[in-house]
Amino acid sequence: MSATATATASAAGTLGASVGASVGASAAAPAPALFQDAAAPGATDPGAPAATATPSATRRVGEVILEVSNITLSFGGVKALNDISFDVREHEIRAIIGPNGAGKSSMLNCINGVYQPQAGRVLFRGEDVRLLSPRTRLRRMAEMGVARTFQNLALFKGMSVLDNIMSGRNLRMRTGLFAQAFRNPWWSPAEREETAHREHVERIIDFLEIQAHRKTPVGRLPYGLQKRVDLGRALAMEPRVLLLDEPMAGMNVEEKQDMCRFILDVNDEFGTTIVLIEHDMGVVMDISDRVVVLDYGRKIGDGKPDEVRANEDVIRAYLGASH
Amino acid sequence: QAKEQFIPLLVYRTGPYAPNGTPWANGKQDYLKLINARDGGINGVKITFEECETGYATDKGVECYERLKGKGASLFDPQATGITFALTDKVPNDKIPLVTLGYGLSASQDGNVFKWNFPMMGSYWTAADMLIQHLAKKEGGFDKLKGRKIALVYHDSPFGKEPIPLLEERQKMHGFELVKIPVTAPGVEQKSAWLQVRQQRPDYVLLWGWGVMNSTALKEAQATGYPREKMYGVWWAGAEPDVKDVGEGAKGYNALALNGSGQQAKVMQDILKHVHEKGQGSGPKDEVGSVLYTRGMIISMLSVEAIRRAQERFGKGKVMTGEQVRWGLENLSIDQKRLDALGLGNLIRPISTSCQDHMGSTWARVHTWDGSKWNFTSDWLQADEQILKPMVKAAADKYASDKKVTRRSPADCQS
């Protein structure tokens, strides 16, 4: 087989400079140095146990960071969301579940500004998303630290894995057109900036264990790995809130376990708040702190996993008998 | 090894202008074949030639030029105004003359500035001038043109725009109204142009078209009911392909004729006999003697005569270089006797060129389409030197100063 795979694999381990220092000025989110744990040499071997074992007990749920109140969204005649309210606290894992077409994805789209709800308020860190100008809204949300993955994979198909994840850093890359144009290996701010961000991205790549695919065009990757890249791109934005739309669809148990591990690590170590849509009840019940249940635009349940699981409405509308 | 004079043939037998380019190209080639077949070349120097298809596109023309230049070309007929413009800058370096019979840069008549250009027998300015003269004659004098409305329907390209300065000059002199109506190249959609004609109701329409534009214009004129009798075309809008498929609809349409046509002339008979009957003809037989065919033939004739003239000075039976051919072109003197000897009879009028005048003759006639063939309907017309000369000089001077060319010294004229 080819030798392309490992050409740069050793790079991550040999370089230790912190990205936080070089781009610190622009980084609003927690220092990314934590990734270095995950990037410890052993972690690059898929067989070895991951060295990221922070006890979950240290997690502490903080203030409300995102508040959705009385959101209503309709498309023509279809009311996708009807007067929905809930909140998300800092550092928690908040799951949204509900039958197909319940409006879960639409909810995420409202939160990060892809859709403009007809009524209601989405308060993120005190700012009302709905009042932002439509032209700059998405950018503003990204700057404030909201990142997301997509249900129908929205990767940049023509780009390599590395470039896809690097593009998550675009928000923080500042060098101008000219500096870029005259970039060179000897003296150039663009090169330095690129290298600094590259380090960060390499740590994400190591963390997600996709080193071997660094230079592969994402279109060629199997579905499950594409989902990981999608997550990687979102992580590269160093988000405070991560919106995940069915990150584990199309995976088998083992891969779901990996994915859970990534999500929990991110949540533990960076304190990233996570809003998660998922149909696998095992996953949802195991890893989420609180669950919102939507049913065709209405909210029919909200609370701890156990409470939700016991809720009659939820069982009838969503879980079915066997759960 | 036999001596061979190479003549490059830039042609277009494909693309939007193919119907007009093809007979022209055939005429050029057939005459060369005739010289070889009948006379055994020019004083024993065989003529070789090679065609290169330009498709009327400038960049392909330039490529053809470079390609054929390398094969020993000593003169070029670019067969397109755009290519002429592009080559005009190149030929002084390569020392190869350009023969642009009836087209090209009007100002290049001035051999003092344009040492390498030979717009023989006429330019767009002389054509425009003759047309106005002819209209004046029809009206009964230049003073009758006052208050008349003349529309220029032109191909929207340098080719179509060249006559405008002269027409504006004439407009100032005679006080007619000039309406300019451009037609976007290649001229397949002219409805609005002819709606404008209908709106303006001009007394005459000058048609400055080429290729498909001509027949389309005639069809639109028919469709808008503009009388074809009042339409006058330049000599590039007065050949068989322009009217053939319009047929009856073009009846009465007039156009300048730079040259006569028909198969009666002796040279045509010779071509039929020495070339076509031996199965060497470049095109169909009945095309021989058509307007554009004849024009192509004349271009080759002038090239051959220039080489012959050059040989007289630089050595008979030798192959002439570009510089030598240039001298030949500049010192042509073909009188009626010579024309008769060449078998051209009165297809054209005598030509004599000089260092100052690279055109050599500014005569043309008007012919009219009767529904099946062209008939001459005027005497020979000649462009008015009085008007032309200063314009040519001014334009040449501007060119010289733009390009930082100095006028040739009298000594240079002798060389």
Binding site: A3, L138, F156, G158, Q180, T195 | T14, E50, D59, S157
Partner: protein
């Protein structure tokens, strides 16, 4: 087994971020450069230089510019000819109207004007997409064609709309002979090739590609669609404009708007698609294919001494050309550059098939 990269471990990201991370590629590139700079000027015939290499270089440059827009940013444009014309005529005006204007400055200023026009016509791309945009950009093409025919001021009052330059010189060195012209163009191509490569491998390039591949996702990760698209239009039309100025100044010498007609736009679009969308090398492959192939096909009958009718030869050329385009698309829809890449991948695995 010659073309391998195992053993070439990178010890820094800088090393991995080089334009040619693989040593063999670097060597090949250097050899190619030496060939272009030293060998070609020494050996090439005038015909080769003037009729093939110079047009090839200039069109590669234009294709490079267009590839940024079409290949990297995904905005199909058929207005390229128009932007080239803007570059050419603007440069001409700077040269003709401003005394003592250096040629290179005039050319770059021409590019700048093309940038302005390009951005202007790029604005609709914020709303119009895909084929709709492609056709809509024809407005730029036809408008520019028209403007240079009609607005006398733009052609320095030349009555026919045809203008020309001559006696070019750079820093006192004349640009007259084919070799000089070739080197002049080569200089531009190298500089802009490098600039383009630098841009597309940096964050700006990534923002273009992101817009191309999935614009909503790009916006969600904080890429500003307007900035990305318009900067692509700007950079692209700058390079295209410079290429236009070179085409006019160096290749044609004197020209009319028809030199930048819609056919040119199509030709350039061919180049980037056949060459490979989103690939710098693709621009060169495409230009080579489109410049050299027709000429070769044209010449074939002569080389083999087959006396063939000019018209027929020309029709056959068109047919073969068309058929080859289709053929290459079928073999590799992503263009010659991808074909080249696959060849390299195979070489890497050689002698094993997979």
């Amino acid at each position: 087994m010659l073309y391998r990269e195992n053993g070439q471990f990178k010890t820094s990201y800088g090393a991995d971020q080089q334009i040619f991370p693989i040593a063999q590629d670097r060597v090949a590139m250097l050899m190619l450069l030496a060939l272009a700079v030293i060998v070609v000027p020494g050996l090439a015939s005038e015909y080769l230089l003037r009729a093939i290499l110079i047009p090839f270089l200039i069109l590669s440059l234009a294709a490079l510019g267009l590839n940024i827009l079409v290949g990297y940013c995904g905005q199909i444009s058929l207005g390229t000819g128009g932007f080239m014309a803007v570059g050419a005529y603007a440069a001409f005006n700077f040269l003709a109207r401003v005394d003592g204007m250096p040629v290179i400055a005039a050319i770059l200023l021409g590019g700048l004007c093309a940038t302005v026009v390009g951005v202007l016509f790029g604005i609709p791309s914020l709303r119009i997409r895909g084929l709709y945009l492609a056709v809509a950009t024809l407005a730029a093409q036809f408008f520019c064609d028209w403007a240079f025919l009609r607005i006398k001021w733009l052609t320095n009052d030349s009555p026919s709309g045809s203008v020309g330059v001559s006696g070019l010189s750079v820093l006192g060195l004349p640009v007259e002979t084919p070799v000089q012209k070739y080197l002049f163009c080569l200089g531009f191509v190298l500089v802009f090739g490098l600039i383009a490569k630098n841009l597309v491998r940096g964050h700006i390039g990534r923002s273009w590609m992101a817009m191309r591949d999935m614009d909503v996702a790009a916006a969600v990760i904080g890429i500003r669609p307007m900035a990305a698209k318009l900067s692509a239009f700007a950079v692209s039309s700058f390079i295209v404009g410079v290429a236009g100025a070179l085409w006019a100044f160096v290749h044609l010498g004197s020209w009319e708007p028809a030199a930048f007609s819609i056919d040119r736009s199509f030709q350039l679009l061919f180049m980037v698609i056949i060459g490979g969308l989103g690939s710098i090398a693709g621009a060169f492959f495409g230009a080579a294919f489109l410049v050299v192939l027709p000429i070769m096909l044209d010449n074939l009958p002569y080389w083999f001494g087959i006396p063939i009718d000019t018209a027929l030869a020309s029709h056959l050329t068109t047919m073969i050309f068309g058929a080859l385009i289709v053929f290459f698309l079928i073999v590799e829809p992503h263009g010659l550059a991808r074909l080249w890449q696959i060849a390299k991948e195979k070489l890497r695995l050689w002698p094993f098939p997979h």
